[in-house]
Assembly symmetry: C2
Homo-oligomer: 316 residues x 2
């Protein structure tokens, strides 16, 4: 599982940054979080094919978060997509698309499964496949806005049956015990430890996408123990009053959410055009939560637990 930021700007494209969108790639399939104007171009720049998108999650109906959806859907139809698409967003979204020639369900060559988040919902599972499950919760913005949490199931390690046989295991109960992580003694008296014959299990990983919002309890709930947390950080804390007024978060507040939720790693996005270099936001957040980065567009960020991330970086 990895994410690729496609847009890190807020409101208007500026400073070379694009409008809100993050691609989550799980086993070659893509879940898109937000879809600002130009997302289909950024997908191309990232080398991601829109035919691999299985679901699109829209947080809220401010233009910078969804005006790219019409063009993306239209391009899917023009390339004769047939696979169903799950479209998750505020209740009104389906109705909006239905009013836009070229983006209507009737213009599509594939079925759209609309998952509508209604005002007053508290939490819901909005998407599930063998590889990922996504839940949504309402967050606190000027308008109805939702945050998302994507989780991969942990996978048990694989037993190398041939190796276990070579070491002397030969009964069903021995194989089962090894799979459970136990040790067994063979007929010849050899002790086989599970770690000798079972590959490391993959722990469940969680990616939380929270934008746009004030820091809030449901944000912290979405971010709980997240392997990777994406949190908007529109302003520095010096502009907290403006953040409150506009329903956004400061970098320090995003870091506090990461800290309180015991997230492993924090990526900041949704930067105001007043910060040509978001390093100032990154630096502010690191004072509270050191494992923070200001997201860079088109860079691949693995969603891996800290130890595995360190190993991966070590190998690179």
């Amino acid at each position: 599982m990895e994410i690729i930021p496609l847009g890190t700007a807020s409101a208007v494209p500026a400073c070379g940054r694009h409008l809100a969108s993050v691609a989550l790639v799980v086993k070659g399939r893509i879940v898109l979080f937000d879809c600002g104007e130009g997302t289909q171009f950024q997908l191309r720049h990232a080398g991601l094919r829109h035919s691999r998108i299985v679901a699109v999650c829209i947080t809220h109906l401010h233009g910078d978060h969804y005006f790219g959806l019409m063009g993306l859907l239209s391009s899917m139809a023009l390339t004769r997509r047939e696979a169903p698409l799950t479209l998750i967003g505020p209740q009104q979204l389906a109705e909006v698309l239905d009013a836009v020639p070229g983006a209507r369900d009737g213009d599509m060559t594939f079925p759209i499964n609309h998952v509508q988040l209604r005002s007053g919902f508290t939490h819901a599972e909005v998407y599930r496949s063998n590889d990922v499950s996504i839940t949504a919760r309402p967050v606190e913005h000027r308008t109805f806005s939702a945050g998302f949490r994507a989780q991969t199931p942990g996978t048990p390690g694989n037993l190398d049956v041939a190796l276990a046989r070579d070491l002397g295991a030969n009964t069903y109960s021995q194989f089962q015990a090894l799979k459970r992580g136990e040790s067994v003694v063979t007929a010849a008296g050899r002790t086989i430890h599970a770690k000798e014959v079972v590959s490391a299990s993959a722990r469940a990983c969680t990616f939380a996408y929270i934008s746009d919002t004030r820091p809030c309890a449901s944000g912290r709930e979405l971010a709980r123990n997240a392997t990777l947390l994406w949190h908007e950080a529109t302003f520095t804390h010096a502009l907290q009053a403006r953040a409150i007024q506009t329903g956004h978060s400061t970098a320090r507040e995003a870091a506090e959410v990461a800290h309180d939720a015991k997230a492993e790693r924090l990526l900041l996005g949704h930067f105001s055009a007043r910060y040509p270099d978001p390093a100032v936001l990154e630096a502010e957040a690191r004072q509270i939560f050191p494992n923070t980065e200001a997201a860079r567009e088109l860079v691949k960020y693995p969603v891996l637990h800290i130890l595995e991330t360190s190993l991966a970086e070590h190998l690179v």
Copy 2:
């Protein structure tokens, strides 16, 4: 007057090309023809500020020609534009925008003057300022589609009064006669010819924008004697059957329109993704109409009469 192609692709962004849009710049003000997704990004890349846009002309409601309008309007509002904007397009356009949160008239900080082209109209002046007048006519596409013709008024040459005085002219009627292009004889018997003291007059220039359409009589009318004609050329003539089926033109057909209308210069756009290099379309059109180019995005094309263009190129 010059134009800057912002997007030359048809249907989907491909081959590094963007979606339909052309900026016409007249004395620092911009008229936009079509507004595909990403137009506001391309305006930035062209160094054009959206605050300079006075009018947007939308040919028809296929997504590749108008999905960038929502984001452009939204960015105008977010940057607190106050100047009125004239928005010209199919009747349904205002209603579509009204259904899209973030792109509604009520979301704007400035007034929009909606000029609605209704099914059955034959021609109309849709915009007029001191510097340019724009007319529209219906063309022939799968859906309602309009073409546009922008014309600058010719300007009389300027009289160099000081020089005329030095040569001996000294009465109001002499100055008026020189301005009219006549010769006068001074009290001292010197004949002053107008060309000695009056700068060359600027002839009216015409830019015609025709996309999407089959070749048609109203297209030829829009293109009549055009200084610069933009005509869609989605396909080569080998695919004429497909052009007919989809309501588009081939490069040869675009050239025939330019030839029949006695246009001075032809720019081709709206290229199908099947042509990574539109040189093939350019070559085909040149067989009929030699003064043809396949438009390149972000290049400035002056709208000048052939002689003036030659001079300008000579000076460069």
